[in-house]
């Protein structure tokens, strides 16, 4: 058990190293002088040269890379080229909004997907099943920005129901601001969850122990809700944990669309302006978080499915 966690942690470190190395190389391959970002379009050649020297941008690629990795190991992430704000601070400020958004999206995804999956399995091959499967297919075919744009237009503009942009004030206002972006994020995931759960439940319902339960007179609701659902959960948890990677990426688009002050939007702005320290910071953080979530999903499955506990 401990060994397993340790292996996971070591692996996460390897992933993080890989991620920042690749990102570093890609970003340095881009023509474009980061010093221009520091001093702006009106600065003369001398100002440009001074800023380059001050930030070590004249050093060779290897020196810059080694320096960066050295700093990261010491927990130092540098400063944004654009704002001179410490990257650690930027990450800290924007991680919480993204966490709220992703948390809400995952909850919504499960809250919508699980009942729909249950319903589809309960009325298998009848109209609810067909409607849900069809709807799920459609939802899976719509990218988050299309769903987002539609929500924006209808709920935000046409009906004037919900706030469409920004973070809002803490409390109910925040919740109201969260609804649309979370929904845009959650819809495809909910569809995937419903589909997966339906398939798992159909498989489970055909198994012997279900037949036994039914023969013993357990009501159909309990058969589905208690006996069949439980063994179907581990794959759902695994799928959701994999989805986190997808959600993180979706956050880039959805946060930009709804003006949500999260890491995704920050990353996109930084990429478009080649603000390297910020991009590297976001990549580092997201790979660590994804690894952590995988670990959590692992542990959750251990708890849900006693059989895996003895493994290794």
């Amino acid at each position: 058990m401990t060994a397993r966690v340790l292996r996971r942690v070591a692996w996460a470190a390897a992933v993080a190293w890989f991620a920042i190395t690749v990102t570093f190389l890609i970003l340095r391959a881009v023509p474009g002088d980061p010093a221009r970002l520091i001093v702006g379009p009106h600065a003369g050649v001398e100002e440009l040269a001074r800023a380059r020297a001050a930030h070590g941008l004249d050093d060779s690629l290897i020196v810059q890379y080694a320096r960066y990795v050295g700093h990261v190991v010491q927990g130092e992430l540098g400063e944004s080229f654009r704002s001179q704000r410490p990257v650690r601070e930027i990450l800290a400020a924007h991680a919480w909004p993204t966490f709220q958004l992703l948390g809400a999206a995952i909850l919504l995804q499960l809250a919508l997907g699980v009942p729909l999956g249950l319903a589809a399995a309960r009325w298998s091959d009848r109209w609810p099943d067909r409607a849900i499967t069809g709807g799920a297919l459609l939802a899976l075919s719509a990218p988050p920005f299309v769903v987002g744009a539609l929500l924006f237009y209808l709920a935000g503009y046409r009906w004037d129901l919900l706030p469409i942009s920004g973070y809002g004030e803490p409390g109910l206002d925040r919740l109201a601001h969260l609804v649309l972006p979370a929904l845009a994020q959650a819809l495809p995931g909910a569809a995937a969850t419903a589909q997966l759960l339906r398939a798992e439940l159909r498989g489970a319902l055909a198994r012997d122990f279900i037949r036994t339960a039914r023969a013993k007179g357990v009501p159909e609701r309990a058969v589905l809700g208690r006996h069949a659902l439980r063994p179907s959960l581990p794959p759902i948890v695994a799928a959701v944990s994999v989805d986190v990677g997808v959600l993180v990426t979706g956050a880039v688009v959805v946060e930009s669309l709804f003006g949500w002050p999260g890491l995704g939007r920050e990353a996109l702005l930084a990429v478009l302006e080649l603000d390297m320290p910020v991009v590297l910071g976001v990549v580092l953080l997201s790979s660590v978080v994804i690894a952590a979530i995988m670990l959590l999903a692992d542990l959750a499955n251990l708890a849900l499915d006693p059989r895996t506990r003895r493994e290794r």
């Binding site: 050649v45 930027i90 046409r158 920004g166």
Partner: protein
């Protein structure tokens, strides 16, 4: 049951028609009153509050309210030409100044009793410290503006800490010595980097200075949740009772352009700067909103910059042909009338601009003839670089179509800001690209010197990105800069304009007009031609209890 309810709710929601006229009106107050809060937004992030680092538009929205300088500009008045009067330099923290006969010695007398927002006195040494700090700070773009000050080079190069040409003989006097005559130098002192800063505060704040401003202007910092919102409150120690009517200014960061207008319409914002084209078009069609649109000529210029050293553009006939090929009426239509066609870099209202020079007419036949004469009867293909963004994209589309008509085929590449700057500033970069210039200060030297003097040519990050090198132009530019007689100076700039018009190192296209829509209760406001968004003289016509007066039902808004 639940399903029926949900269906009903959905139907009700679908049928609800939202009233889209202004939701409030002016309370009817008869003159400026203090109080209220104004919320405005920007599409980008606020980078810094340190005036020595703040070069971008958004940072200026903040520093403009936080800092006063020795001399400044009066506020803009509503009305299209309202910006003109706002370009004259007026005393701010200095009550007066003298310039010596030869133009090399400047002496400022500070206003009595001026204070920072913490109550400490503003003294002449603080200005000296601020200027030296700009020279010392590696990341500051402003050091170059002080190149004409005696001893500035020593400080910039790190040889000395003390700038010999800037002296504070006592608390109320500041003297500056220049090594060469410069008619535009006073404008430099009106830039916000020249705002006073006490050494003690700078050393206490250290790297935190970017978010711990010591305000000398009408507003001071209340709070800044970075990336989200900046809140400014009135500076109780400010000297000027004619500025700072509104109690609290809130700047919301990173609000997308399409969202900004929607928030404005709902009353979540009090002003909306440069609404996107569709929103502007919509506004123009609403009688209730039209009177609330403010337009001001801005000090900017847009066009296509050409690298004049690269064939086929080294031939002036080709450059002129491109100027004839572009249909400026199309461009103005694409911008929904918020632009004026241009004949050169100097915008309307700028000193030294020649108003009699007419823009190149749209004449494809002539363009084709010129191209044929230059040896390109069938045109040519060329790479064209532009910025990623909505407006550059549309303009590229129009340009591509116009040039295709005379046989010049553009391969368009849209780049991010940094990559774009890098590409166009290199001698071997793209020969044709989108360009624009926004003044640093409202003087022709801020346009012509930087973009067309051969001194500004460099191998990397060249400011003169046309790589335009004409000895006669260089000489004329230097003469005009040192000329102190306004009439002679204006004639010199008119000659320069003519020369550049004929030589066509750019495709001259247009100047943008600033558009800002305000709620009915926002009074005496227009975008400022230098600072763009300046709410220091704006007041809110609210009800006595500070709430907004709702528009009465059925009353047509104004």
């Amino acid at each position: 049951m639940i399903r029926e309810l949900a269906l009903c709710a959905l139907l009700v929601a679908a049928c609800r028609e939202v009233d889209r006229a202004p939701r409030w009106s002016a309370a009817g107050g008869d003159g400026p009153r203090r109080g209220g809060a104004l919320r405005f937004s920007t599409t980008a992030s606020l980078r810094t509050l340190d005036p020595v680092l703040a070069y971008d538009e958004v940072s200026l929205y903040a520093t403009q309210h936080l800092f006063d300088t020795l001399i400044g500009y009066p506020p803009a008045r509503p009305g299209t030409a309202g910006g003109r009067g706002a370009l004259e330099l007026v005393p701010q923290l200095a009550e007066s100044w003298q310039v010596s006969e030869d133009g090399l010695e400047l002496r400022f007398t500070l206003r009595e009793g001026v204070r920072y927002d913490d109550g400490t006195a503003i003294v002449a040494a603080d200005f000296k410290y601020a200027l030296e700090r700009a020279l010392r700070t590696a990341d500051s773009p402003f050091g170059g503006f002080l190149a004409g000050v005696v001893g500035a080079e020593d400080v910039r190069a790190g040889r000395r800490a003390d700038c010999a040409g800037v002296r504070a003989p006592d608390d109320r006097h500041l003297e500056i010595s220049l090594s060469r005559r410069d008619a535009s130098f006073l404008y430099v002192l009106a830039l916000k980097f020249a705002a006073p800063l006490p050494r003690a505060h700078a050393e206490r704040a250290g790297a935190e200075l970017r978010r711990r401003p010591l305000a000398s202007g009408p507003y001071r910092l209340a709070a800044w949740r970075e990336g989200e919102r900046l809140t400014l409150e009135r500076n109780p120690h400010h000297w000027d009772r004619q500025r700072g009517w509104i109690d609290v200014l809130t700047l919301l960061e990173n609000v997308p352009q399409d969202v900004e207008f929607l928030m404005f319409e709902r009353g979540e914002l009090d002003v909306c700067y440069q609404p996107s084209s569709p929103d502007y078009l919509w506004l123009r069609a609403q009688p209730a909103w039209t009177p609330l649109i403010r337009r001001v000529d801005l000090m900017n210029v847009f066009g296509e910059r050409i690298n004049v050293t690269r064939p086929p553009f080294s031939d002036v006939r080709v450059r002129r042909a491109l100027n004839y090929a572009v249909n400026k009426d199309h461009l103005v239509r694409l911008l929904h009338g918020t632009a004026t066609p241009s004949h050169g870099v100097l915008p309307p209202g700028m000193f030294g601009r020649d108003p009699t020079l007419a823009p190149y007419p749209h004449d494809p036949a002539r363009a084709r003839a010129l191209l044929a004469e230059a040896g390109y009867p069938h045109g040519f293909e060329v790479e064209y670089v532009t910025l990623a963004g909505d407006e550059p994209r549309r303009l590229a589309g129009s340009l591509q179509a116009d040039l295709a008509e005379v046989g010049v085929r553009l391969k368009v590449r849209a780049l991010s800001f940094t990559a774009y700057q890098d590409a166009v500033g290199a001698p071997d970069g793209p020969a044709l690209s989108y360009t624009s210039w926004l003044q640093d200060y409202p003087d022709p030297s801020s346009f012509i010197d930087t973009r067309f003097h051969s001194r500004m040519i460099a191998d990397h990050g060249s400011m003169n990105d046309s790589f335009y090198r004409r000895p006669d132009v260089d000489a004329l530019i230097d003469e005009a800069r040192a000329e102190l007689d306004p009439a002679k100076r204006a004639a010199q700039y008119r000659a320069l304009e003519r020369r550049l018009y004929d030589d066509a190192p750019w495709i001259w296209e247009y100047h943008r007009v600033a558009i800002e829509v305000v709620q009915p209760y926002v009074q005496s406001y227009a975008p400022h031609p230098v600072w763009l968004r300046d709410y220091t003289s704006t007041w809110l016509d609210l009800r006595p209890d500070g709430s907004r007066a709702p528009r009465r039902a059925r009353e047509p808004a104004r």
